[in-house]
C-alpha cells in the first residue's frame, strides 16, 4: 500500500546535473521500470528514493510523507543491488534474515521467515549454504529474498539481472514479474535493457540526461513515442525528416503522405518535423508507384524468423522488416517503392 510522489527532484554532483527537476507519480502496487542509457540519471534517481543519496532540491513523498531527513536505514524499503551485495561472511539464511535481525526479531522466527522466502523464490533447502557455493542465478534469488524479508514498503532493484546470461535473464524477468504480482509490492527497477522493461513493467519511465522523456505503459511508449529519443531508444525505428502541411498530410522525401485517424501527430509539432515509423510498418513494393517513396535496395538480411531490407532513399537508409512469407521479390541495387502503414506512424517535433 505504497505510492510515491516525486516533485521537482534534482541532484547535482559538482557540475553535473545527474537528476534534473523530475516530477513523477508512482501509484500503489505498480511495477515501474526506470529505463535509459548509462549516465541518464536512473540509478541516481533510485538511490535518491532509497535515501542513499541526499537530494539537492525537490521532494520525495512516500504515502504523502516527505522523506527528507529520514536516513536510508529507517525507510523500511527493500533493495537489490547491482553487485547483489550478499554478505560473504553470512550463510544464505542469515543473509535473508539480516533485516529481521536488525529489527530484533527472534532467531526462531527469523529462520522460519528465511525458509518461507526461499520457498517463495523457489530455492528450498539451501538455508545453511555459504554464499560462495551458490550459482549466479541462485545468488540473484537470495538477494531478492533478502530485499523482500521485511515486507518492504517499496522494493527497489538496481540493474538486478545484469550479471546473468541472456537466457537466465529472460527467465528471471518473468519470475520477478510474477512474484511482484503475487505480492503486490510497489516495485521500482532500474534497467538499460528496453526488452527487460517491456517484459516486466506496468509503467516504463524513459530517462535521458537527468530528465524524464516519457512515462507510461510500455505499449503506449512503443506506439506513441513522445520524441525521437524515446522512439529510437525503445525498439528500432526509422526517423525520417518531414514537413507537416495543413491537416493530416505530410511531405516525406518529396512525396505526399496522408495520415489516417490512428496516426499520431504530437501537439508540439509545426512545420518541419520527424516521422517515426517502425521497420515492421514499412513495406517494400517491387516497383515504385505514385503513393510510394522510391528508393534503392542497399542490403538484404535474412534472419530466418524475419527478413530485413535496407533501402536507400535520398541520403537516408530506411529499414523494413517482414516475415519470410511476405518477402518481396527484390534484389540489391533494384529500385523499389516504400509504403508506410498509416495508423502506425508518429510525427514528432524535430
Amino acid at each position: 500500500m505504497t505510492s510515491v510522489r516525486i516533485e521537482n527532484l534534482s541532484k547535482t554532483f559538482g557540475e553535473v546535473r545527474a537528476v534534473d527537476g523530475i516530477d513523477l507519480d508512482i501509484p500503489d502496487g505498480k511495477f515501474v521500470c526506470l529505463l535509459g542509457p548509462s549516465g541518464c540519471g536512473k540509478t541516481t534517481l533510485l538511490r535518491l528514493i532509497a535515501g542513499l543519496e541526499a537530494e539537492s532540491g525537490g521532494r520525495i513523498l512516500v504515502d504523502g510523507q516527505d522523506q527528507a531527513g529520514i536516513p536510508a536505514h529507517k525507510r523500511d524499503f527493500g533493495m537489490v543491488f547491482q553487485s547483489l551485495a550478499l554478505f560473504p561472511h553470512l550463510s544464505v539464511a542469515e543473509n535473508i534474515a539480516y533485516p529481521l535481525k536488525i529489527r530484533g526479531t527472534g532467531a526462531e522466527e527469523r529462520r522460519k521467515r528465511a525458509t518461507e522466502l526461499l520457498d517463495l523464490v523457489q530455492l528450498p533447502h539451501i538455508e545453511d549454504r555459504a554464499i560462495s557455493q551458490l550459482s549466479g542465478g541462485q545468488r540473484q534469488r537470495v538477494a531478492i529474498a533478502r530485499g523482500l524479508a521485511i515486507d518492504p514498503k517499496l522494493f527497489l532493484l538496481d540493474e538486478p539481472l545484469s550479471a546473468l546470461d541472456a537466457k537466465l535473464r529472460e527467465h528471471m524477468q518473468i519470475e520477478l514479474r510474477q512474484l511482484q504480482q503475487k505480492l503486490q509490492v510497489t516495485t521500482i527497477v532500474v534497467t538499460h535493457d528496453q526488452r527487460e522493461a517491456m517484459t516486466m513493467a506496468d509503467i516504463v519511465i524513459v530517462m535521458d540526461r537527468g530528465k524524464v522523456q516519457q512515462a507510461g505503459p510500455p505499449i503506449d511508449i512503443y506506439r506513441r513515442p513522445a520524441n525521437s529519443f524515446v522512439a529510437d531508444f525503445i525498439g528500432t525505428t526509422n526517423l525520417i525528416p518531414c514537413t507537416v502541411k495543413d491537416g493530416r498530410s505530410i511531405d516525406v522525401l518529396g512525396h505526399e503522405v496522408t495520415l489516417g485517424e490512428e496516426d499520431v501527430i504530437n501537439p508540439d509539432v509545426n512545420g518541419s518535423a520527424i516521422l517515426s515509423v517502425r521497420p515492421e510498418d514499412v513495406a517494400v513494393t517491387e516497383r515504385a508507384g505514385d503513393h510510394t517513396v522510391p528508393g534503392e535496395v542497399a542490403f538484404i538480411r535474412d534472419l530466418g524468423a524475419n527478413v530485413e531490407i535496407s533501402v536507400r532513399a535520398r541520403d537516408l537508409e530506411i529499414r523494413s522488416v517482414c516475415t519470410p512469407k511476405r518477402r518481396p521479390d527484390v534484389a540489391v541495387g533494384q529500385t523499389v517503392g516504400l509504403e508506410f502503414h498509416t495508423g502506425r506512424c508518429t510525427v514528432m517535433a524535430s
Binding site: 532509497a50 542513499l52 536516513p71 536510508a72 536505514h73 529507517k74 523500511d76 524499503f77 527493500g78 533493495m79 543491488f81 547491482q82 553487485s83 547483489l84 551485495a85 550478499l86 554478505f87 560473504p88 561472511h89 550463510s91 542469515e94 539480516y98 533485516p99 536488525i102 529489527r103 532467531a107 545453511d128 555459504a130 533478502r146 530485499g147 524479508a149 521485511i150 527497489l156
Partner: protein, 284 residues
Amino acid sequence: MTTPSHRLSARPLAIYPAAMLLVFFLIPFGIMVVVSFFHRVEGAFFEPAFEFANYARFLSPFFGKILATSIGLSAAAAVIGVVVAFPFTYFLTTMPRRQQTVILVFLLSVLSLSEVIIGFAWSTLLSRTAGVSNLLVWIGILDGPQAYTPSLTALLLGLCYLGFPYAVLVIYPALSRLDPELPEAARMSGASPVAAFFNVIIPVMRNTIVGTLILVFVFTLGAYLLPQVLGRPQHWTLSVHITDQAIFQSNLPFSAAMAVFLLLVSLALVGITMLLSQPKGQRS
C-alpha cells in the same frame, strides 16, 4: 589455470635474483643459526662449537621478563594501531580520490621516517623544554612544564606512531576494493551506519585485520631505538638486547641465539593467530 603456450619470460631470468637472495639473505640467515651454537671468545668474535649454552642463558627470569615486555609492548602497539587505523582507513577510502592522494603522500612520508627521527621527535614533543606540556601550561591546565619521557606511555605512543602508517597501508588495498554496495545493502536492511560497520565491514575484513595485527606486531617487535630513547632501561626489548650483545658486548653467539629465538617466537605467534582465524563456517 591453463598454462600459456609460451612463457612470457625466459627461465634464466631467475638465476640472478635467486642467486642474490640465496647468497645475501638465506646464507646470512643460515650462518646466524649456526653461530648461535658457537662458543664466544673473549676479545675475538667466536669460535666454532656446538653448544646450547647461548640458548640456556635466556631461560632465566631476567630474559623471560624481557621477552614478556617485548611481546606485551608490541601486542599493545599492534592492537591500538589497528583499532585506530581500521576506521581511519575506511574513512580514507570513502574520500574523493584527490584528498586520498594527499593523505597517502603524508602517510608514506611518516612511514619512511627513520626510527631515530621518530624517537627524537617524540622525545622533543614530550620534553620539558619544547613539549606539549608547555602548551598545557599556556592553556592553564598545568602550573609548570613537565617531561613525559622516558616512560612506558611515551614508548607505547612511539611504537603506535611507528606501526600506524604500516597498518593503514596494509588495510588500504582491501578496504578500497571492498564492494561499496555491501555497507549500503546493510543500510537498506535497516542497519545504521555504525551497525553496518560492525556487522558487515569488520567481519568481511576479518582476515585483513588479523593479517595487519600480525604485521604490525612483528614490525614493532623489531623496534630498537624507541625503547632506548623513549623508555627506561627496564623497558628495553629483546631487539635492544640483541644489538647490545652483538655490538657492545661482542657476544655474537648469544645475540644470534636471541635473534633465532625471536624469529621462532614471531613465527609461532603468526602461526597461532592464523590458525585461530582460519575456521570460518556456519556460526550464528
